[in-house]
């Protein structure tokens, strides 16, 4: 990949614009194999070399739908009797993980969240806690009041929010602000996940108040208490439990053990595959 193409790719990613990197992986002329292109969602195609426009328009025709569907795939293009194979790799805008509260649990959450490919924002209203030294892995550490932050932060279906502040009242204030904003949005436009830490009793108290105040919000994206039941105790264990739950939602999966799909090991059969 040329330096110029890489710069364009990283610019797209940092500006939160979807892009696809396209590599010719097969072509009758071997000198062309390995050539790369960058395609943006608006249909702009950057060419590393100088291929004819005829090929450009074919690439756009085949690859733009994949970019729109966020699908990394290899496609074959027929052009003037030649078979051209292109590997299309999409670079979707990363999901956004917002961690409200910069306490003990938030540290491993930010670190593991980053490892999982999220764009991670940590917010706290205390400068002593909300700083880059404590969160070297976060993409962004914000010091602001919770209410101001949640009044303005962009919300999309790729936003995952965790309310882990030091006091339950800050969690509730943040949650109320989010519910207020989401009530005026279509269900598909809302966040996929708002997790709030807390005991069953406390949560019962909170929703006792909220159910009347936000009658138009179905609460389906609220997860409280947070996390999957894996017996988590330490901050790192809790972080794994929470992020496992977030992945389950993000990937629309069950969260069950994979072995549950197998009823009995002794009844399993293995068949040697016959060669074509």
């Amino acid at each position: 990949m040329s330096h110029r193409l890489y710069e364009q790719l990283s610019e797209s990613v940092s500006k939160h614009q979807d892009a696809a990197l396209i590599t010719i992986t097969d072509h009758p002329d071997v000198s062309v194999v390995g050539s790369k292109f960058l395609l943006q969602k608006n249909g702009t195609l950057y060419d590393e070399s100088e291929f004819p426009l005829e090929l450009h328009s074919e690439i756009i025709k085949y690859c733009l739908p994949l970019l729109r569907q966020n699908k990394t795939k290899t496609v074959q293009i027929q052009l003037n009797g030649k078979l051209i194979e292109c590997y299309v790799e999409v670079f979707p805008v990363p999901s956004h993980l917002i961690v409200a509260g910069a306490g003990h649990v938030s540290e491993p959450v930010a670190e593991i969240g980053k490892m999982l490919g999220f764009y991670v924002t940590v917010i706290d209203d205390r400068l002593k806690f909300a700083n880059d030294e404590r969160f070297p892995f976060a993409d962004e550490v914000v010091c602001s009041s919770y209410i101001d932050f949640f009044r303005n932060v962009p919300i999309t279906p790729k936003t995952y929010i965790l309310l882990l502040t030091r006091g339950h009242k800050f969690d509730v204030v943040s949650l109320q602000e989010l519910l207020r904003r989401e009530e005026s949005m279509d269900v598909e436009e809302r966040t996929k996940y708002i997790g709030m830490i807390g005991s069953r009793r406390r949560i019962a108290g909170v929703f006792e108040q909220l159910k009347n105040k936000f009658a138009d919000h179905n609460f389906v994206n609220i997860h409280s208490p947070v996390g999957l039941d894996i017996g988590a105790q330490t901050p790192t264990e809790i972080a794994i439990s929470i992020l496992a739950e977030i992945l389950k939602i993000k990937n629309s999966s069950s969260g069950n053990s994979l072995k549950e799909k197998i009823s009995s090991y002794s009844k399993l059969k293995f068949r040697e595959r016959s060669k074509k």
Partner: protein, 118 residues
Amino acid sequence: MNNIDFYKRVMSVREQRSKAAVATIIRTKGSTPRNTGAKMIVFPNGEIYGTIGGGCGEGEVIEKSFSVIKSGVPSQHQVDLTEGLMYEDGGICGGIMDVFIEPVHNVNDNESLHSISI
């Protein structure tokens, strides 16, 4: 590791004028350890950055990558994991994957291909 960080590493290898190859799974069939898009950088000493799933299949691709590094010509390699369930540690998955292997060109190499006929 997300993809942009992977390419960042590729570009730094390129700028250091080191030799290496990038192997990418471009197509899979059946059950494979990783899906289309999994990638690794292979260095001439056999070290890798990233993984395409480990085991014998990955070993095969590392071998092929050495010849790509040497020749500077990209190629495709098919890893077949369908044969023999208990064969070494390789066949545990039972699928097939196509891997595209390309050299990490050094700066200024091959950057001025002009007017290619299609």
